[in-house]
């Protein structure tokens, strides 16, 4: 199976692990990630304003690229995923916006939101299947108590994202279980870490992040996994005393491709 892949700015830089292990794991699972040529940064956050067009064009170029190849578009960074999925939804549902965009991109032809957008996690669940992953696990993570941290961008707004129950999600827990580990369920896994507020008010972000880690730890977590570089940054900056890793790294470890890359 071949899919179009949008890595995003951070994955080529501070979050190389997230990217690298995504590639490695996909390979084991029989998925080829075809990186979109000349992709541009998604902008990090989706501007909800109805009259914002230019800030969404990079997403649409990526969507169109995948659409032209008749491939689903896969992202692994929560933020990219959120921006691209919301943009695509706007293309599908807001015809005035779609008109503007298409006029803007006259040379590229018209696009109406046809491309299917998957988060890497959704790809694992819906295109690969957790049962298939379970069969490919070589280093079982049995006995590890792992807490999934979703943050805000993966799940919300639910009307658009449609990934999982936004208040009691299970997709990452199901992944953890398929890798042989125990999933720690805790209520704050869908609360915001503080996001970009850490730039201006690091203390505020710290407060949120500490509460999240505390909630995970009280429920027995030995490790936290996440899909978002900013979440990882905030959780680590607040002084987490348990490891915070990208879910792709955990996946690669279980699939036995982590050593390879280190070597």
């Amino acid at each position: 199976m071949k899919v179009s892949y949008f890595p995003g700015c951070t994955l080529k830089n501070k979050a190389k692990d997230l990217d690298m292990y995504a590639y490695k794991s996909a390979e084991v699972l029989g998925v080829t990630l075809e990186e979109i040529e000349n992709w541009q940064c998604c902008g990090g956050v989706f501007t909800t304003a109805n009259d914002e067009v230019a800030t969404k064009l990079s997403s649409i170029r990526a969507l169109k690229y995948a659409g032209d190849k008749e491939q689903p578009l896969v992202t692994v960074c929560s933020a990219c995923h959120n921006v691209i999925k919301q943009t695509n939804h706007a293309m599908q549902t807001n015809s005035a916006f779609a008109d503007k965009v298409n006029r803007y991109m006259a040379a590229d032809g018209s696009y109406k939101g046809e491309t299917e957008v998957y988060h890497y996690l959704e790809m694992l669940r819906d295109l690969v299947g957790f049962d298939v992953i379970k069969e490919k696990v070589v280093n079982t993570l049995k006995g590890k108590k792992i807490a999934a941290y979703y943050g805000c961008l993966l799940l919300r707004p639910n009307k658009v994202m449609r990934m999982d129950d936004p208040e009691n999600p299970t997709i990452m827990e199901d992944l953890i279980k398929s890798l042989g580990a125990d999933a720690v369920v805790y209520a704050k896994r869908n609360e915001c870490c503080g996001g970009y507020i850490s730039l201006e008010s690091p203390d505020a972000a710290k407060k949120n992040s500490i509460a999240i880690i505390e909630n995970a730890k009280v429920n027995g977590a030995q490790m936290i996994i996440t899909a978002c570089p900013l979440c990882k940054y905030n959780l680590e900056k607040c002084g987490a005393d348990i490891p915070v890793v990208y879910f792709t790294e955990l996946l690669a470890e279980a699939l036995g491709v982590k050593e390879d890359t280190n070597a």
Binding site: D165, N168, V218
Partner: protein, 664 residues
């Protein structure tokens, strides 16, 4: 040719303000058949009606056209007037020149012109009217009540009290419904069981009432006065007439770990069970999904211990056909699922419960014998947070919750809070509310007592997130008055879940051809004037199946529904709607197109002999309409290619005449 009288109503200035009524009555004078035309201030008044009666006599009128408000308003009035004047009531036509003319047009010229055209159409129609005589049908003097909660119980008792036989069909093994699960009732705080169970016993002992418990209605045929109902008695594997309800089987049953639905799964029951001590009928029921004997033939303990020999593992579902004159729907409500509201962590913590679960927790017959404890660890909760409006008052296109106010939550939450503070004064009780709605006798006083005398902390605001952490529930909420975000470490969180109609209501409505609103509440025939009747004749509504209701309201509606049923059953014959289809057998092809589209099965066929022009005879298959079953929709008239099928009161020729009059 008819002799038509035209009566144009001013409706004060409602019509006369935008329509030149004088011009209308003058213009209609020259229409074919019109022999008299006038106008008057209030046609529906006694004086107006007398004017019509006098004109009928004076001008030998055979038809009447009233240009007035909507026929939905006063058609019946003017038909009565016509009848009083000796005319057939169906010789009246109404031109709607108020709702559909004077009220929607501003210009007098336009309004007048349109009113004249509408009047002409009515005259054209009435010229083709024929006197119609409603058919009669007999009444089966028995009633069916579907649902055995307090609504069904009260309706059945009241009907039986008037001397008519009543059957109650209840899908659970016992009657009693939600009220049987409640602890105390607001605002008087008397115990629900103390006031409900005597009524249940009354039902059981009433000779006029039969209870079909563990049963459901599977088919409804027929029409008002003559319903034909199939009731499915689910196999309970216990012979109801023999079982003494001693409970020996329940005690000895080895399968004891079945979630007890009566206590909302907070404790367990056995595979053979009696839902609660005061169940009616007090007989055991075997849960076929849990019983080893039924699943794999291994066990049979209950059969061995039953002294009465009531156990019958071979029992089959039984279908019973009964006839009824009236049907009362009392299918009640359920709290909605909390699955989509996990910001309150209902699925993540045992100590987040719904109000109905709280009700069982505080009930002396409940899983904790009435001791208020946390379901997770059995400890006494010191801080309790009640959250109002969970799933109520949501936006119409919201993906979770209901648009309406569930009505009962404010009061039962005040009750819960008050009782908790009363019994456990060391407990801190918070109630988060959006509005406190207490419109009922002694209701607001009750709520104020909870605050003022019992020290319940009411906070205007909503809970945003509940985080179970350790043995605490961290509640994050807003206090809008103080403009603060609150963080409370609670031991127990109680959600006032919205209520919704029982899931069985929708298929039942289809069977009954009774209408429902988008929320699956049954629609009443008129929201103000006929609140306990369904628009489908002979079907009545009792309790929360029509909308959220508390107990006193339910009981009053149950009594009202009963009185409507009694009014119906007291009649020997019913007069029907005469505007029914009829088939001209000379033109009928017998092709069955009409029967295919009839929603009521009102059309049958018979072979009939016809004399042919050449003096031979020919036998042909022709359609026959049962006027008592036909509801007059007219679907058949269009399906009929030859035009043999027509609708009285809305005949092809009449509608065509209206079209012609309008388009002239």
């Amino acid at each position: 040719m008819q002799r038509v009288g035209v009566f144009v109503c001013w409706c004060g200035s409602n019509i006369a303000g935008t329509v030149d009524v004088e011009a209308v009555s003058e213009a209609l004078k020259s229409e074919p058949g019109v022999v008299f035309s006038t106008n008057y201030q209030y046609m529906c008044s006694q004086a107006g009606q007398d004017m019509i009666k006098d004109a009928v006599k004076e001008h030998n009128l055979t038809g009447i056209v009233v240009c007035s408000c909507s026929p939905r308003m006063h058609e019946a009035t003017f038909r009565k007037t016509a009848a009083a004047a000796g005319l057939n009531p169906y010789m009246v036509e109404i031109a709607n020149i108020r709702e559909q003319c004077s009220w929607v047009h501003k210009d007098v010229l336009t309004g007048t012109e349109k009113a004249i055209i509408l009047g002409k159409a009515a005259v054209a129609k009435v010229n083709l009217n024929t006197p119609l005589i409603p058919g009669e049908s007999p009444v089966t003097k028995r009633a069916l009540v579907i649902g055995g909660g307090i609504a069904g119980i009260q309706t059945a008792l009241d009907i039986a009290d008037a001397g008519f036989e009543v059957d109650i069909v209840e899908k659970k093994p016992t009657i009693g419904g939600k009220m049987a699960q409640l602890d105390k009732t607001f605002p008087t705080l008397d115990c629900a069981a103390c006031i409900l169970t005597p009524k249940m016993v009354d039902v059981a002992q009433n000779e006029k009432i039969r209870i079909f418990s563990y049963s459901e209605v599977t088919e409804v045929q027929g029409f008002v006065g003559n319903f034909d109902v199939t009731i499915k008695k689910n196999a309970r594997y216990v012979k109801e007439e023999i079982c003494t309800g001693c409970g020996a089987c329940v005690e000895k049953c080895p399968m004891k770990k079945i979630p007890n639905e009566f206590n909302l799964g907070m404790d367990n029951r056995s595979a053979i069970y009696i839902p609660f001590a005061q169940a009616v009928p007090k007989v055991a029921t075997i849960d076929p999904n849990a019983c080893n004997m039924l699943k794999n033939g291994k066990c049979g303990v209950c059969s061995k211990v039953c002294a009465a020999g009531a156990i019958d593992y071979t029992q089959k579902d039984e279908y019973i056909n009964e006839k009824y004159g009236a049907i009362v729907v009392a299918t009640g409500f359920n709290p909605i699922s909390m699955d989509k509201f996990d910001e309150f962590a209902y699925n993540q913590s045992k100590d987040v419960i719904t109000s109905l679960e709280f009700e069982r927790l505080t009930n002396a017959a409940g899983p904790s014998a009435g001791k208020l404890v946390r379901p997770s660890d059995g400890k006494h909760p010191h801080t309790i947070v009640f959250v109002q409006c969970v799933g109520s008052r949501c936006e119409s296109c919201a993906e979770k919750g209901k648009e309406y106010c569930s009505k009962i939550c404010c009061m039962y939450t005040a009750k819960h809070a008050m009782l908790t503070r009363d019994k456990y004064p060391d407990t801190e009780v918070y109630v988060f509310y959006i509005d406190v709605r207490t419109p009922g006798k002694n209701f607001d006083e009750f709520y104020r007592r909870a605050v003022e005398e019992y020290g319940v902390k009411y906070v205007k605001g909503m809970v945003g997130k509940v985080t179970p952490e350790g043995d605490k529930l961290k509640v994050q909420a807003s206090d809008l008055i103080a403009n603060k975000q609150l963080h409370i470490d609670a031991d127990l969180v109680v959600l006032a879940a919205a209520i919704e109609p029982d899931k069985s209501a929708r298929p039942l409505a289809t069977m009954l051809t009774a209408s429902m609103d988008t929320n699956d509440f049954f629609t009443e025939a008129h929201p103000k004037l006929r609140p306990v009747e369904s628009p489908t004749a002979g079907v009545f509504l009792s309790g929360a199946c029509q909308g959220p209701k508390d107990i006193p309201e339910t009981v009053s509606q149950a009594g009202a529904a009963a009185s409507k049923v009694i009014g119906l059953l007291a009649k020997d014959k019913l007069t029907g709607n005469p505007c029914v289809a009829n088939s001209n057998e000379l033109m009928c092809n017998g092709c069955s197109s009409c029967a295919n589209v009839c929603p009521y099965g009102a059309i049958s066929y018979e072979d009939k002999e016809f004399r042919m022009p050449d003096r031979t005879t020919k036998v042909r298959r022709v359609a026959v309409v049962n006027p008592a079953v036909c509801q007059g929709c007219g679907a058949c008239t269009v399906a009929c290619p030859s035009g043999a099928m027509d609708l009285k009161g809305f005949a092809n020729s009449q509608i065509m005449a209206e079209v012609d009059a309008i388009c002239k």
